[in-house]
């Protein structure tokens, strides 16, 4: 698999911006056809490394070391030579497909341009090649789509076009920088599949940069883990996932929520935050967060040591690193009360909720040209002490639902009952009281906190508005509650790391002792190692304070950890709803099945053997949903049905019907399918 000379060899690469050492000695080599995964959290220097290899860093960066591409040195090479190599021998796929294409040129022309830069072909030949490439990356109707402009392509389609551009000249190396991070899971699965095809076609080596240990598990041959600008562990993919020798790798794997792990076990977060590259600790950069740190660790930075064949780790205690030691920061497992619904009081009930937006056109004289059915009749309820996870991909209507609930007014159709009060019949005073009892935590902790207010003021503000006495002691209590130091009260939000800021956001939501907390993607902006701590905190708070959560998220793995029940949304409707383990272990709606099967597991062996249900195409426009079952245009089950069975899907829209105790599915032909085996069952 990995024979031959390395095509790309990076040795002792350093990148500094002014005094900030962003990359401090990275070395790796990739052979033809090999996939190297580079994994790290934000600020680990992984993206800077790849930009340095491509020579795409701004002039303010100083790069030293050696990058050899097919034996040719790139560092210090004249721009002209680099230009000749870029796009031909080495090419790149970027993170954000939405902005990676020039908006004013046709997609086909942009691909053809890549061809024409490096090959002596006519315009027509280049265009023919561009269409071939679009076909190769799975764009339906490539001849016609080539004439389209980027804004007419969805995110997944654009990323395919970018991949087409990257393989246009049969490169030897393709660097992919977080190629799927901006995409929804089902689209991510499609794009990863396209990357595999691209690699098969070109025989190129791939360097895959990601923060997601799941994405590389099934794709990479070897993995390099970066921390604070340096590789801390390198090895074959199985070594990294099953025989890791570096506490950071252990910590990372321990902190990822996995869809395949049921039961309520707390995650093991890594304490603290990654060090800032401008202020590194003297010894091992991981020392302040390492559960295994000893005194010698802070003396000198450990070098990468050979710990096995083709396996290196930068830890002086590598020999003692077992498989997942019990982290000293593990939260106390909260024995969740599961089952026994019904007895509890209902805190939120949504009944047949509908929200439509008019679709307008024109500037001076606006005309209505259609209706966006953002939410098309959904029902669910949340009981006291319960967490409902509302999940779905972008455009499914989960955020609209949340906004409708927060508005506390009469919905266009249907009913919203919050804490026993129907929002259609609320007086101003009642609304104020509900606002106190229902709080919200938003995704972006920094945007939702006023930068000019100290933490104390932020937390005291709701207390004052609702006239609660003795703010000082309450603020201290709140800070303790969310695991922050009382002394933090005098600081400003920007002095905190992302995870700490989110804790402040949570503390503010809890200030008035609400009964119901609405969480809008509360952890999706955070790095995995930090995310775990916030999830644990939310879970602990819930059982301690008897809260109920409405948890809106796109990440099904996170939801499995925190939620008691889950509702999966697709195009404004609920596809499946029920108790978390029931839904995850035996999803019955074809969409839930595809969604769960698309989530990569941080487990190479299972990734290799697992069955993946790939969905075709993109989400239909919510302004023009398909008749009958909204999922039928992409439904894998639909395709296996006989014609007479199909007509039911086309003609009548399935309602959510209960198929088991607390398990409702909106599909005429629902049946159980196990797509994620439970981790504990097969992996002792």
């Amino acid at each position: 698999m990995t024979a031959g000379e390395p095509v790309l060899e990076v040795r002792d690469l350093h990148v500094t911006f002014g005094d900030v050492r962003a990359v401090r000695g990275v070395s790796y080599a990739v052979r033809p056809g090999e996939v190297l995964g580079i994994v790290g959290e934000s600020g680990s220097g992984k993206s800077v490394t790849s930009a340095a290899v491509m020579g795409l860093l701004p002039p303010s960066a100083t790069v030293t070391g050696s990058v050899r591409l097919r034996g040719q040195e790139l560092i210090g090479a004249p721009e002209k030579r680099l230009t000749a190599l870029r796009g031909k021998t080495i090419s790149m796929v970027f993170q954000d497909p939405l902005s990676a294409l020039t908006p004013v040129y046709r997609v086909g022309d942009q691909i053809a341009e890549a061809v024409r830069i490096h090959q002596k072909v006519t315009k027509e030949q280049a265009m023919v090649r561009a269409v071939e490439l679009l076909d190769l990356v799975g764009i339906p109707n490539p001849g016609q789509r080539a004439l389209g402009f980027p804004h007419e392509f969805s995110g997944g389609m654009r990323q395919r076009a970018v991949i087409a551009m990257a393989i246009a000249n049969d490169p030897d190396v393709i660097i992919c920088d977080e190629p799927t991070t901006a995409l929804d899971v089902t689209i991510q699965a499609q794009v990863l599949e396209v990357l595999k095809t691209a690699q098969r076609e070109t025989g190129a080596a791939i360097v895959m940069i990601t923060h997601d240990l799941g994405v590389v598990a099934g794709f990479a041959d070897r993995v390099l883990v970066m921390y604070a600008g340096r590789p801390v562990e390198v090895g074959a993919v199985d070594d990294i996932y099953y025989r890791m020798r570096m506490p950071y790798t252990v910590g990372l794997l321990g902190s990822i929520p996995r869809v395949d792990r049921g039961g309520r076990q707390p995650l093991v977060p890594i304490e603290g935050a990654p060090p800032s590259p401008a202020a590194l600790p003297p010894g091992c950069p991981f020392e302040p967060r390492c559960p295994m740190a000893v005194e010698e660790c802070s003396v000198a930075e450990p070098a990468l040591l050979e710990v096995g064949p083709g396996h290196e780790a930068a830890c002086i205690r590598w020999a003692d690193v077992g498989v997942r030691p019990p982290g000293r920061h593990a939260a106390q497992a909260a024995a969740a009360v599961r089952g026994g619904r019904g007895a509890q009081e209902v805190v939120l009930r949504v009944d047949g909720l509908v929200k439509q937006y008019p679709l307008m056109k024109g500037s001076l004289f606006k005309r209505r040209v259609g209706t966006v059915h953002a939410v098309a009749g959904i029902s669910f309820d949340i009981r006291q002490g319960e967490t409902l996870g509302l999940v779905g991909e972008s455009g499914c209507g989960k955020t609209t639902t949340l906004m409708e609930i927060l508005e506390l007014v009469k919905p266009q159709d249907g009913r919203i009952v919050v804490l026993g009060q129907d929002t259609a019949r609320l007086a101003a005073g009642d609304r104020m009281a509900i606002r106190r009892d229902m709080q919200v935590v938003f995704q972006d902790p920094l945007a939702s906190l006023d930068p000019r207010m100290t933490v104390h003021d932020i937390l005291a503000e709701p207390l004052r508005t609702h006239r609660r006495g003795d703010t000082g002691s309450r603020v201290r209590e709140l800070l303790r509650l969310v695991g922050l130091d009382e002394s933090h009260a005098a600081r400003y939000p920007q002095d905190f790391s992302g995870g700490q800021r989110q804790r402040i956001g949570i503390a503010r939501a809890l200030a008035l002792e609400p009964k119901l907390v609405v969480l809008d993607e509360p952890v999706s902006a955070l790095d995995v190692s930090i995310q775990a701590g916030v999830i644990n905190l939310l879970d602990a708070l819930k059982s301690r304070l008897g809260l109920s959560y409405l948890f809106v998220a796109h990440d099904l793995a996170v939801v499995r950890y925190i939620a008691d029940r889950v509702a999966v949304m697709y195009l404004g409707r609920i596809a499946e709803i029920g108790q978390v383990d029931t839904v995850y272990d035996g999803p019955m709606h074809p969409y839930t099945q595809a969604l769960l099967s698309a989530i990569p597991l941080p487990d190479p062996e299972r990734e290799r053997t697992r069955r993946r249900i790939l969905l075709d195409g993109d989400l239909p426009s919510p302004a023009d949903p398909p008749s009958g079952c909204r999922f039928r245009t992409r439904c894998p089950k639909f395709r296996t049905l006989a014609a007479n069975e199909r007509s039911r899907c086309v003609e009548s829209e399935p309602e959510v019907r209960a198929l088991a105790q607390d398990h409702g599915v909106a599909c005429h032909y629902a049946e159980k399918l196990e797509v994620v085996q439970n981790h504990e069952e097969s992996h002792p």
Binding site: K80, G87, Y105
Partner: protein
């Protein structure tokens, strides 16, 4: 695409009609042509004055709405009525419009083109000498009133004529020299010589604003991911900048183009005055003093039409540059 432009045109025509009607009402309501006859000696009898005013459709004893109807009917037939002295507004303004639009159009084209280029180059060499210099100059130009700037240009021009060229290269007064007999090409040259300084004085302000604007747009685009993509696929930095960055950064500037046009017309009034051009701006001021309602209304109408044309041009440029507009 055609539908989009047609809809736009319709919108603009409605706006022009509303704007010029308002201008007429305002002029007819505020100006008092009757007073022109008050200090004539011998004082004409009131009946004669009334008859005269009625003939010119300026009689304030006729209801405003009726005068407006007469005026509007005339305009629809392409007739803007008579001036206070009884001559045709059309003839007078046709010549003057040529003068003003020649100046404004040239100034606009030079100003926006040079401005865009200066701004784009300054952005590419951000914080370089050129960037600093152009930034400083822009602010200086924007801070100086047009009147002062034009006067300074005249001084510099005459100084250059005397000390550098030793001949009259820049001509600073009027649109052409009277009684010149040098054939057709000589005439053209003469007009050009007259045109240079006024155009420069009009362009400078535009260059300053456009370059600032373009620089900001360009800086936004330079950091964009698609420039990185273009470089990653093997384009040299220069080609990536000209083919991908400049083109995209032009889009918002084009919209700005239409807005500038209106202010430019006012700016031209000063320039005309200082360089002794007999254009619309000059006439507007004169006609306000002579209570010439029809001329004021006609100039307002022309200005509205000019802004319409500029907006339409901007729309077409915008659509040509940005595919997102075309499909919308």
């Amino acid at each position: 695409m055609a539908g989009f432009l047609a809809r736009r045109l319709l919108n603009y025509l409605v706006l022009v009609a509303v704007a010029s009607s308002l201008a007429y009402m305002l002029a007819a309501g505020a100006l008092d042509p009757r007073s022109n006859y008050a200090d004539r000696t011998p004082k004409p009898p009131p009946a004669v004055v009334d008859a005269q005013l009625t003939a010119l459709n300026l009689n304030d004893k006729t209801p405003l709405i009726q005068r407006y109807a007469t005026w509007a009917a005339g305009v629809l037939h392409g007739d803007f009525g008579r001036t206070v002295t009884g001559t045709s507004v059309n003839e007078d303004l046709a010549r003057r419009a040529g003068v003003t639009f020649r100046l404004v159009l040239l100034g606009l084209i030079c100003g926006s083109l040079v401005g865009v280029l200066v701004g784009a180059y300054a952005a590419v060499k951000q914080y370089g000498l050129f960037d600093r210099l152009s930034t400083g100059m822009s602010f200086l130009v924007l801070a100086i009133p047009v009147v002062v700037l034009a006067t300074m240009l005249i001084l510099v021009g005459t100084w250059l004529n005397e000390n550098v060229f030793g001949a009259k290269v820049f001509l600073v007064s009027g649109e052409y020299s009277d009684g010149l007999d040098t054939g057709f090409w000589g005439g053209v040259l003469d007009r050009l010589q007259h045109l240079i300084l006024p155009t420069v004085s009009l362009s400078l302000g535009l260059i300053a604003t456009f370059s600032r604007y373009q620089r900001n747009m360009m800086l936004d685009v330079l950091g964009a991911d698609f420039i990185r993509t273009a470089v990653a696929k093997g384009l040299s930095r220069r080609r990536a900048l000209t083919r991908h960055a400049l083109r995209t950064a032009l889009i918002p500037v084009v919209t700005y183009f239409a807005f500038t046009f209106g202010t430019l017309l006012t700016g031209a009034t000063f320039t005309e005055k200082i360089f002794g051009w007999h254009g619309l701006g000059e006439q507007l001021i004169n006609s306000i003093f002579t209570n010439d309602v029809n001329t004021v209304a006609a100039i307002a109408f022309l200005a509205a039409i000019a802004v319409l044309a500029a907006s339409l041009a901007a729309d077409m440029l915008h659509a040509a540059l940005d595919p997102r507009v075309r499909t919308a």
